[in-house]
């Protein structure tokens, strides 16, 4: 079976049709229109079997995670997603796997109104690269570099769930409550890109990033790009009931600080914008938790618990 047929048979028919796509799957390239007044936002992420997901992860989850991690990057830029391109490397054409994978992609495509506009299928070890494209109004993109000393630090959702979920999937630990186990595995396999929050934060947040490698690793990107320091109050970190019930408090904090794969947004807001933030989050019916404050000690991160320094040495996910 040839590349042409894989794309045609498993992906093209399941693709949604956006009005801004002039030419989609089936030519040398896709042709699309950007709305006037909008800038293009592009991001690429690769997931490799055995590195970014366990080899026994269901195909449906792999597809949705590959898409979610890219949409999460668009969310962190304040962008609205529009199109994705897929490069799928696989050792052989396994029709059952492809059926489940393309169904997973289709479900997310429909839910987020994102059209698959092209791709490449190649023979090789199982790996998925998605390039996602979206829009943001000119000059409203959220970046890492405009945070200022005095800004408050927030995160969406809860932290650490995917980290414990990974240890459960790897059979490194056992969680007795089956509901908690299901929740934690779900957080690992089906992360939620925080698109609504990201879009709401345009003109409000001074900086924003998504947490993929762990809070400590990712906040450093903001601190370095913005030349700020930060204090995080570990007892303010948002923890899910499932995480708190499954491990000790200090283990939960450790997952929240340095486990990756949460795909929550971490963002900063100036004192003047805090009122605006509260109204906007309330109107959008989404929640974010205050976890600390920025200061002028460029690049330095302090952890505090009940006004004492919190000793902690682990780092975030290291890629090599």
């Amino acid at each position: 079976m040839k590349e042409f047929n894989v794309i045609e048979d498993f992906f093209k028919a399941k693709s949604i049709q956006r009005k801004d796509v002039i030419i989609g799957i089936g030519d040398d390239g896709a042709v699309t229109h950007i709305p006037q007044g909008q800038a293009l936002v592009t991001t690429t992420d690769t997931l490799i079997s055995g590195v970014h997901f366990l080899p026994d992860t269901p195909a449906h989850a792999i597809a949705q995670k590959a898409m979610a991690v890219n949409l999460s990057d668009l969310a962190a830029m304040g962008a609205e997603p529009a199109w994705i391109s897929l490069s799928l490397s696989m050792p052989e054409v396994d029709e059952t796997w492809l059926e489940a994978f393309s169904n997973g992609l289709q479900q997310h495509s429909k839910y987020y109104s994102v059209q698959l506009i092209g791709g490449d299928t190649v023979k090789g070890p199982l790996a998925i690269t998605i390039t996602a494209q979206g829009f943001v109004p000119f000059d409203q993109a959220l970046t890492r570099s405009k945070a200022k000393p005095g800004d408050s630090l927030y995160v969406t959702g809860t932290l650490g769930d995917a980290g414990l979920g990974l240890h459960i999937a790897q059979k490194k630990c056992v969680v007795s409550n089956p509901l908690n186990q299901a929740f934690l595995l779900n957080r690992l396999n089906y992360p939620t890109p925080r698109l609504l929050v990201g879009n709401s934060l345009r003109r409000i947040a001074s900086a924003c990033i998504d947490i993929s490698d762990g809070l400590i690793a990712d906040i450093k990107h903001i601190l370095n790009a913005s030349q700020c320091g930060a204090t995080i109050h570990v007892d303010k970190l948002p923890l899910s009931p499932a995480l708190k019930e499954s491990v000790t408090y200090s283990q939960a904090i450790s997952y929240a600080l340095s486990a990756g794969d949460d795909y929550e947004l971490l963002f900063t807001v100036s004192e003047e914008q805090k009122g605006h933030l509260e109204t906007t989050l309330a109107n959008a019916n989404v929640h974010a938790t205050y976890i600390g404050q920025l200061n002028g000690s460029a690049g330095k991160l302090q952890l505090r618990q009940a006004d004492k320094p919190y000793e902690y040495s682990a780092k975030g996910y290291e890629h090599f």
Copy 2:
């Protein structure tokens, strides 16, 4: 060493700076501007070590080929290239390799004025996925689907060189003339994206595709998409002196018909546009060769030599 540092240390400093890039490498996504009146063209291709290139291919060539195969797709759409995103999967951080790879990418970036706007580096088997983006004026994109019976069929450059180059690299055959050997290996490792021809063909060609899997395999995409048939005159196929001197005539034809990796453009032109084509190619100082004619036998391809049917059974490159 972390992902952040690989991108920063080896790629960011070498990146050219286009005026339409608002945010490049170093944030969750890149932010770029599309000129008014232009549509966005996007294409993705993956090269895997041991599948698309031999494991001992120099890093410099791998980078330039990965970029060229993507720019070739833009050329086939009549688009002007602007930006690329890179996903680089590699088993370890090898600084010498990365230095050579990023130099190769930089050279092509400068030459084609294409900016690397972002990427992802992951630990895994050596594989390179590039997503290239470019522009084409609204409604001027070249596609596969608008060829008509009676249109003439052309190709740029010469065919089959990369196919023999691959067999030399694989030590499946020996070419005695070292100049010919160098030329053929160069055609394999350093393909030329036919951007100037592609841009010149806007409003002239009725259909266009780049030859990546071999002439026979790729013409079928045009025939299927346009519901046409075609006759190719094998004695009109453009063959390089190096190819003709190195193998028998029938072997040369065989390479030209079904070996992949040439990255020449195959396009169709209506009778009315042939004068326009000749002037345009002459003005751009590029050459294309007439190789046959389209007809109404949907999907059927006939090969003829000196007005007799040419018997030939091999297909193009099969991906699985």
